[in-house]
Symmetry: C2
Subunit: 237 residues, 2 copies
């Protein structure tokens, strides 16, 4: 069947309208490596020495979880105050690199197409709105598109229901992400109605690590994704 | 049998003395992510836009091969002059980050132990001596330890015979590296008498990608490596 969704007629496999949950960092924006370097410096300032690759594997987590998890790896417990200080240092060090951060290939086209379909905007809750704004600007997220940030929810993971604050309900939500770190919260995410349907390579984690984690959809790059968008129940251009 | 090697008696599985070829970036030094970011900026200055993860996968290559390979990905051919310019830009942008680069955990202990065994120094030919000097200092490579850099060889890959310039011959050479990129030149490396015996996770490529490429030895972190050093025919402390 198909229903009118925004201004376009969209075909669905069932009668529930789809929502797409797109991560921001690493999915629309090529910022994972700058985040890893920023966390590396922030942790060192906080007296925590860790190799960058160990940080890279955790970039998908919220700042709070990441800080706890990394501190645990070095056998430390972080106080709430220390964790907050660490997150502020990371935000500052990442902001210092934002001028070198670019949209990922195909992200602009994908956003342009989905915007025409009245899509639900980036759901990545790991960056507070203030921090996310320059990134959202990079991929031309138009005003009015709902964006879920860390401010909207009590905890970034497990994923919040994407329907807080009176947004249009969508019983099926397909997540598109880049990162096995986020994949780890799959069961909770699925319980909230969101399945990771498409795993992207852009986080730098390798195809084999995705296959082992088993996203339910295919591994694609963003230009591929736009070519196959109808497989998510959204009409192609 | 065992032979006197340097000042220590070292046990070998056969009568050929072992040489260890240790990569520098990503193996002794935690510099892979800074290299990826530096290449990303250098390429953009040269008009080549590529996602950082695509660069990350190629960090093990020599500068020349990496530039050619990345340019080809965007459908361009690089002139010799353009490639040289790109390499100079990368060296400059990496040097700007060197103050944030640290030794990998266990690297200092490993170098200390191997130095006592009169080991052959880092073989990674991807950085010219000038660029490598601050990194070698980070892990306390003592004066007199032979270091093979890009200046010693006509081409960085396939690996040069580690025995140029009158160094002590070793018929068996075991390589320790972090990166599947370098693993790809395995057959040529093996023809030169070097096998990749130990694959490390520190390059950020994931255990599964190593397993798929099949290093002949185990996957270990550096502290593990020192614990298992006798498996390479070198006496433990």
């Amino acid at each position: 069947m198909s229903v009118l969704y925004g201004e376009r007629r969209v075909a669905f496999q069932d009668d529930r309208p789809p929502a797409l949950l797109l991560d921001l960092d690493g999915t629309l924006i090529d910022s994972v490596y700058q985040h890893a370097i920023a966390w590396h410096k922030a942790l060192e300032l906080g007296g925590i020495r860790l190799s960058v690759w160990r940080i890279h594997r955790r970039i998908g987590m919220s700042g709070g979880l990441l800080a706890d998890s990394l501190a645990r790896e070095t056998g430390r417990e972080l106080s709430e105050k220390d964790a907050a200080k660490l997150k502020r240092a990371h935000a500052r060090l990442f902001a210092a690199q934002v001028r070198d951060v670019r949209p990922l290939p195909g992200a602009l086209d994908l956003v342009r197409h989905l915007t025409r379909c009245a899509w639900h905007g980036p759901s990545r809750p790991a960056a507070r709105w203030r921090g996310a704004r320059p990134l959202l600007t990079l991929v031309n997220i138009p005003p009015g598109v709902p964006v879920i940030t860390r401010d909207d929810v009590a905890h970034a993971n497990p994923i919040p229901r994407p329907l807080d604050r009176g947004r249009r309900p969508a019983r099926r939500a397909d997540r598109i992400g880049d990162c096995r770190g986020r994949q780890r919260v799959g069961p909770a995410r699925r319980a909230a109605g969101a399945r990771t349907r498409v795993g992207l390579l852009s986080g730098g984690y390798g195809q084999t690590s995705w296959s082992a984690q088993g996203p339910t959809g295919s591994m694609k790059t963003r230009p591929d994704l736009l070519l196959h968008i109808d497989e998510l129940g959204i009409r192609a251009e």
